[in-house]
Structure formats: structure tokens, C-alpha cells
Amino acid sequence: MRRVLLVLGLAFLWAPVLLLAGYAFSDSRVPFEWGGFSLRWFTALANNARILDAAWLSLRIGAAAASLATLLGMALGWVLARHGPFAGRPVFGALAGAPLVLPEVVTGLSLLLLFVGLQALTGWPAQRGAVTVWLAHSALGMAYVAVLVQARLAGLDPALEEAAADLGASPFAVFRTVTLPLIAPSLAAGWLLAFTLSLDDVVLASFVSGPGATTLPVYLFSQLRLGMTPEANALAAVFLVVGAVLSAIAWVFRRRAG
């Protein structure tokens, strides 16, 4: 019974995705119609400059946002795990967790209004674009990193850091030689999570982005609302293969570490 439902659930998750990727190899001009095996849509994708530009921008924003989110999220997780019951802690915790659950429209609108207000007051940001998307995605990602880092820190034996101090390490040396290596897996996982969140986001980017800074999901959303082409199938197939390879690499790493 348990197994039947698990298989049914997995089939529900996989069926649309497999069909999508499978028809990428169809020669037909109509998506989801079999017209014989062909790689023409992969060739078309490779020559579609607009998709490639958008993908390149998304990758850069994703990497930058994941990096800032990791730095800020580490600070948030550290304070939550290590600073005890300081004044304002309930507010701090609520704010740190808010981006995890707030509906995207609310987050998107709120960040846009922040940027508009800042611009009116200080002249910065002069125009909305990659930088504002980067900040918005960092704000989203830092909450996820914070959860991972806090959980990891809370699970560490406090004696490890005491032992380092006892053996003559300064507070900074304790952090560099003991704490940081031990939370590194969480930081890596948090970075990857923030990166994928950024790569997948439509709503925040639609709100805070400006002309000339169209990320891949926003571009796809605007195009596919009008009608789809088999290039989208090809793109999905590429993503699926990349995802499978990255998951396999992560799995091998975890096996080696564990």
C-alpha cells in the first residue's frame, strides 16, 4: 500500500516531465506530436541568441545572489544558533523566517517599492535591472541558508570550539579552523539551494527587473504564454540531464564524505 502510493506519486511527478523531455527528440514542429527522431530542436536552441543571453544572465545573477545569500544567511544562522535569548530575538526569528513562506507577489511588490523609494530618496538604484534582481534573490536565498546553517550549528558539539580555544586558538582561529570547515557542507548546500531558487524565479524578477535585464524564467514565461515551440522541450531535456548529472555528483560526494 505504502509502496503503491509512492510509485503513483512519483509517476505523477515524472510523467509530464518525461513527456516534455521525450518530445524534444521529435521532428515535428508541433510540441507533443511525434514526427520521427530528430535533434533539430537542440540545434535551434543552440542558435537561439535570446534564450542563451537570458540563460547567461540568469546564471550570473544566480551565482552572485547565491554568494551574497550564503554570506548573509551564515550571519543570520549564526545569530539564531549562538546569540541566545537577546532582546528582540522573537522579531529577529520571525523576520529571518519570513522570506521562506511569504507569497512571492508580496515579497516581489515589497522589494520593488523599496527600490523605488530608495531611488526617489538617494538616486540609487538609478534603474532597475540585474542589480535589483540580485538583491531580491539574495533576500530570498539568505533565509534558506540561515535555516541550514542554524540547524548545523545547533547540532555541533559545543566542546569542539572550546577544545580549539583550550588549545590556544584565538576566536578568529577557532572560527577559521574548526567552525567554518564543519559548517561548510551546509554552506555549500545553502549556496546551491539559493542558486536554484534564483534560476527558477519568475515573480520576484518580474517585479524588480527593468528593461534589458530579462532572466531566463521571465523570458520563457513571456514567450510560452503566447504559445510554445519544441525548443522549450529541448531546453527541458537539457536541464533534466544537467540536474541528473549534478545530483549524481552530489551523491558521490556525500557517499565519500559520509
Binding site: D157, A159, L160, E162, A163, A164, A165, D166, L167, G168, A169, S170, A173, T177, V178, P181, L182
Partner: protein
């Protein structure tokens, strides 16, 4: 020569005084045990010496120098943690070298010292392993090697044997003591296990509610406990309140401790230092036998009889006697 001195050290957590104006002196080259139950303050005392707790009042002196306000890295002491706290991301060799690296020693000096400690603690061939690839006993030796690496004046051991299997505990304890003798190092060990403290330490301090109940050698502590609670804590002695039994003791005291193995079964009752009783319960324990003897209108006495002795039946009337010298006067 006094190595470590605590002068009226007080540490409070809220309303509870974990250390209550506690004073103590420990000599160089000594193996010293802090013995007490949970909440007695023994761990707080150790952490105050290491620098993880700052005392609210009083001073901690190492070789006569006040270190009360020094942070842990500045103190010339090293702690072996109950969990060992081995760095899981570092190899055995890197764990041992950790303190030496922080001290900025040269590569060659570090390698030589690590090799020396690896040999000393029989860790050869394990230098490249990670802590989780080691057995409990090996981990314990790595933790000890790491603490010894910088040749600190004082080694603090927090329940050094508690994480080991019971079969390994006895032998490891003896190895620990042999190593301490060989190096002439000063050890301060915290333990809740009275047998461990008595077996390993040169001197034992019994802690109760943040105060020292008694400091003495193991032999003296066992034979001459100072208070009722020390007597009960060490080997479950009988505490005889003055006036309940006819006692012929040299010193007048409010109560006396009487070891269960110092009580004999006799055929004729002496005038003093003896009592009739009935056998309330009896348990054969292999090496000896435990007898609970109820004195009519008096205490329930624990009596330990040698294995070869003829044992009475439960419910039987018996006569018990002991030597006057077996009575240890208790101050409180």
C-alpha cells in the same frame, strides 16, 4: 610545591551557587580527582580552571600567578573533554598538531612532537585516519595526545573514562595513571565514579553543593570519611548515630561510619560494639555476600560477608560485632 590554587572561588548560575567560596590547592606532579554527584560543581570547577567559566568572586592561581581573567587560549592548561571533542574534519596527526600550529611552531618541530606522542600513546599507523574511523579507546588516546602536545603545566580530564565500554575502562584507567607517573605530569580529573577516583588518584576531593566536603588520599577517605554524606557516597558505609547502639569509640562524635565489610557474624555478643539483629535480606554476589540486618528498634545495617562464610537463613536471628577501630567518627 603548589601548582594550582583556588582561593574562595564562587560561581553562581542564577540563584544556584555551583561553586561556593571554594578553596583548594593541588601540587605539581599530582594526580588529583574531583569526585561528586551531578550538580556538585565538579565540572564547573574544571571549566573555571580551563577558563570557560569566569568566577564571580575569588581567584584561580597557576604557579602563583592569577589567571582568573585570562581567556582559555592564554592559559597553560589543556583539557580532555568528556566527548573527546576530536575535530572530525582533521586527521589524527592534525588533531594532535592543532595546538602546536596555533602556537606557531615550525613544521619540523610539530612533526617531531606528533611522532613522539603517536609513539607514546601507541597510535602508530593511524596518523592519517579521521576520528570516526577509530575505536573508543583510540579516540581517547588521541584526545590525550592532543592535550599533552604543548606540554601544558596542567592537564584537566573531564570524565576521561565515561565514554568507554565498561570492559575497557579499568585497563585504560591504569594506563592513564602509568602515563601520568612516567611523564611526571599534573592531572586533575573529574569523575562521578568513586571506584575510579580511589583507584587512580593520589588525592581526592569530594564535592557537595559547590563546596569541598573532604580532601584526602583514597585510603584515608575510605577509612576515615569526614561526614555522613562522604561516608554514604564512598562505598555505602553504615552511618551509626551516636546513642542508637552501644559504641566504644575513642572520640565522641555525633555519628560514626562503619564499613559493611568490617562487621562480623559472632557467636557471643560483646558488651559494646555489637548488636543482635535479624536477617532482613540476603544476596550472594559471587565474590562476597550482602546481608541486610535489621536491628530491633535500630538501624538497618549493611553487612558484607566473605564468600566462604556460612550464610544464615533469611529471618534468622544473628549476632553482629565489630572492632572499635573500625568506627570512623563523623563531623557532620
Amino acid at each position: 610545591m603548589t601548582l594550582l590554587a583556588l582561593e574562595s572561588v564562587t560561581k553562581r548560575f542564577g540563584a544556584v551557587a555551583a561553586l561556593d567560596a571554594l578553596s583548594l590547592e593541588i601540587g605539581a606532579g599530582e594526580f588529583f580527582a574531583l569526585l561528586g554527584g551531578s550538580g556538585s560543581g565538579k565540572s564547573t570547577l574544571l571549566r573555571a580552571v580551563a577558563g570557560f567559566e569566569l568566577p564571580d568572586a575569588g581567584r584561580v592561581l597557576l604557579r602563583g600567578q592569577d589567571i582568573s581573567r585570562q581567556p582559555p587560549p592564554a592559559r597553560d592548561v589543556a583539557m580532555m573533554f568528556q566527548s573527546y571533542a576530536l575535530f572530525p574534519h582533521l586527521s589524527v596527526a592534525d588533531n594532535i598538531a592543532y595546538g602546536l600550529r596555533r602556537a606557531g611552531e615550525g613544521r619540523a618541530a610539530i612533526a617531531a612532537r606528533v611522532a613522539e606522542l603517536v609513539a607514546l600513546l601507541a597510535l602508530g599507523g593511524m596518523e592519517a585516519r579521521r576520528p570516526r574511523q577509530l575505536s573508543g579507546g583510540q579516540q581517547q588516546r588521541v584526545a590525550l595526545a592532543r592535550a599533552l602536545a604543548r606540554r601544558p603545566s596542567l592537564i584537566l580530564l573531564d570524565e576521561p573514562l565515561a565514554a568507554l565500554d565498561s570492559g575497557l575502562r579499568e585497563r585504560t584507567g591504569l594506563e592513564l595513571r602509568a602515563l601520568q607517573r612516567r611523564l611526571g605530569a599534573s592531572f586533575v580529573m573529574v569523575t562521578h565514579d568513586q571506584a575510579e577516583a580511589l583507584a587512580l588518584a593520589d588525592r581526592v576531593a569530594v564535592l557537595e553543593q559547590g563546596r569541598i566536603a573532604q580532601v584526602a588520599s583514597p585510603r584515608e577517605l575510605y577509612d576515615r570519611p569526614a561526614t555522613r554524606s562522604v561516608a554514604r557516597f564512598l562505598g555505602a558505609a553504615n552511618v551509626l548515630e551516636a546513642g542508637t547502639l552501644p559504641l566504644g569509640a575513642e572520640v565522641a562524635a555525633p555519628a560514626y561510619a562503619l564499613r559493611p565489610e568490617r562487621i562480623r557474624l559472632v557467636d557471643a555478643l560483646p558488651a559494646i560494639n555489637g548488636t543482635p539483629a535479624t536477617v532482613a535480606d540476603l544476596a550472594f554476589r559471587g565474590g562476597d555476600a550482602l546481608l541486610l540486618a535489621q536491628v530491633a528498634g535500630g538501624p538497618l545495617l549493611r553487612v558484607v560477608l566473605p564468600a566462604g562464610a556460612a550464610l544464615p537463613e533469611a529471618g534468622a536471628a544473628i549476632l553482629l560485632a565489630w572492632d572499635a577501630a573500625a568506627l570512623a567518627p563523623l563531623a557532620a
